[in-house]
């Protein structure tokens, strides 16, 4: 497990709420995420995960409630939030027609990293990914598993305080899925807080703590071990089914 700093919170949400007309997508959620923690953010389709993540990453204004992310206020300092986080979506987000190096340089440049920093770190990252020989190949020529690992490295290249991962392992083969989680562990050990959503319930077990959203609320939040105890369940799959079956809202 990652070394989690319990007294330093990098995300604090208090009664965070988002309404679209008379529909409450996110309904007064409150929670804190510690520095270096791997925080699993689970919920059925339509439970409000994406809306909550968009508010926390400074892309969407809350209707009410408060949240601080990386020390910045989601209402007043959303631009600073964007600069201090990394984000990787379920859809592959790199440019297929740029090379591996060009993609890294492009994204690092957007985050304002210096040429010197990019040059230094490029070699290190490509080495860790075993992609040094492929650095000048177009991204579209890489196998899917490598693309996903590269996308993660790009998302944390600028050394953000928090990285948001939205279903990063969907459709990935089981071996690569585990290699990917190894990268998550290492990022967390280096102090990056990892906020991750997944539909694979075995991956929920790899998180330090897991929250489960049902109908816009956070109905459970604890370590996987404690959640299994509380809900008298054998696995996280069972915990999830017990909670998500209570949902009254239709999927998105």
């Amino acid at each position: 497990m990652a070394i989690v700093s319990m007294n330093e919170k990098v995300i604090v949400a208090e009664n965070l709420t988002k309404k679209f007309g008379d529909f409450t997508a996110v309904d007064h959620i409150s929670f804190g995420v510690h520095k270096g923690e791997i925080f699993g953010f689970l919920g059925a389709n339509g439970a409000g995960k994406t809306t909550a993540m968009r508010m926390l990453s400074g892309l969407s204004m809350p209707t009410s409630g408060n949240a601080m992310v990386a020390g910045f206020d989601v209402y007043r300092e959303n631009e600073k939030i964007k600069r201090n986080i990394g984000y990787m979506s379920q859809k592959f987000s790199l440019y297929e027609d740029l090379t591996v190096r060009e993609n890294i340089r492009f994204y690092a440049g957007i985050y304002g990293m210096s040429s010197h920093f990019i040059k230094e770190k490029m070699g290190q990252v490509l080495g860790e990914l075993h992609l040094t020989a492929e650095g000048d190949k177009l991204v579209k020529s890489l196998p899917l598993g490598w693309k996903q690992k590269l996308a993660f490295s790009v998302a944390i290249f600028h050394e953000p305080r928090i990285v948001f991962l939205d279903e990063p392992t969907g459709g990935v083969d089981p071996v690569t899925r585990r290699e990917f989680w190894h990268m998550i562990y290492e990022a967390a050990a280096s102090g990056i807080t990892v906020f991750v959503t997944t539909h694979y319930m075995d991956e929920a077990e790899y998180c330090d703590r897991v929250s489960i959203m049902v109908d816009g609320r956070i109905d459970a939040l604890d370590t996987p071990q404690q959640l299994k105890k509380t809900y008298a369940a054998e696995s996280m799959d069972e915990v999830f089914l017990k909670l998500a079956r209570k949902a009254t809202r239709a999927a998105d």
């Binding site: 497990m1 919920g43 059925a44 389709n45 899917l144 969907g170 083969d173 089981p174 071996v175």
Partner: protein, 303 residues
């Protein structure tokens, strides 16, 4: 009776055929079977489905569906199969009811004629029958697409990744629907990247990089694992994984939910126990039953 027969199918892409999507695939599916094609993205699942539904020509090999050849008799096949592609492909600006009527009419039938077959699924979205398909939720789109694929009472149903990106609860419900369809005698071929769904099928083909790793019943695949599998956990899982990988008796070690799985070279639980004891970490060690994912990884690493 055989519903689908695939012989030595090869499919390549690119000007110089440099990308091999399917390399020499052969298997058959019996009538009434619920057959799973299980593999990650890029394994070749969609290419195979498009060949089976006469939408793509193979470079090599031959395929029959319900006894008809996919090249010569493609029109006959299109009359008798249902196909639900991975991407939502209904008319977004037609209503739920209009989409269903459209597909029924194309196949010279009516919604009334086959209502019994889709009732179980369609009744769940019928309250929204005047809503545009584009405005439906993900789960409702899936049910409409399945209803449209079934409305002409196909003998073989092809479902390409119907549960991808769908949460665990909805996935379970979808498989329950498929079980009930199977009881109506429809042959179902379904692809999925989720290994845990294999157990819902009569038989499965595990596919990776255009090659079939194994074809068997889910139970049969698990029985061929052939190695001792142990599950271990401790308070420092990252260190434990590192320790396991350094143990000579351990052939492979990887995280598996709450535990790490250790594939042993020999039947050597006690050797691993004493090895870990020497490492001075407190741990819990037990025997584990391999599941499809363990088998898939073992096959991936040996193929």
């Amino acid at each position: 009776m055989t519903a689908v027969k695939i012989n030595n199918v090869v499919k390549t892409y690119g000007k110089k055929k440099e990308i091999t999507a399917l390399s020499d695939i052969s298997f058959s599916v019996s009538k009434g079977e619920l057959f799973g094609i299980i593999g990650p993205d890029g394994a070749g699942k969609t290419s195979l489905f498009r060949i089976l539904t006469t939408l793509l020509l193979a470079d090599n090999g031959n395929v029959t569906v319900d006894g008809f050849d996919v090249v010569k008799d493609y029109k006959a096949i299109r009359q008798r199969v249902g196909y639900m592609p991975g991407r939502f492909s209904l008319y977004q600006d037609l209503s739920v009811k209009e989409n269903l009527n459209f597909f029924a009419t194309i196949f010279n039938t009516s919604v009334e004629e086959n209502y019994e077959l889709i009732k179980d699924i369609y009744s769940q979205i019928e309250p929204f029958k005047d809503r545009k398909a584009g405005k439906l939720s993900g789960g409702m789109k899936q049910k409409l697409a399945l209803s449209c694929a079934l409305i002409h009472r196909p003998s073989v149903l092809f479902l390409d990744e119907p549960t991808t990106g769908v949460d665990a609860v909805s996935r379970k419900e979808f498989w329950e629907m498929l079980k009930r369809l199977k009881e109506q005698g429809i042959t179902i071929l379904v692809s999925t990247p989720y290994m845990d769904e294999a157990s819902m099928c009569d038989r499965v083909a595990l596919i990776q990089a255009g090659k079939i790793l194994s074809i068997n019943t889910p139970q049969g695949i698990v029985e061929t694992f052939g190695k001792k599998l142990l599950a271990v956990k401790s308070t420092d899982m990252l260190r434990l994984l590192h320790d396991l990988k350094q143990c000579e008796e351990v052939q492979d070690a990887y995280p598996f939910g709450e535990y790490h799985h250790a594939v042993m070279r020999n039947d050597s639980k006690e050797i691993l126990r004493s090895y870990l004891e020497q490492r001075g970490q407190s741990f819990e060690l037990k025997e584990a039953e391999p599941n499809i994912e363990d088998c898939f990884m073992a096959l991936m690493k040996t193929s």
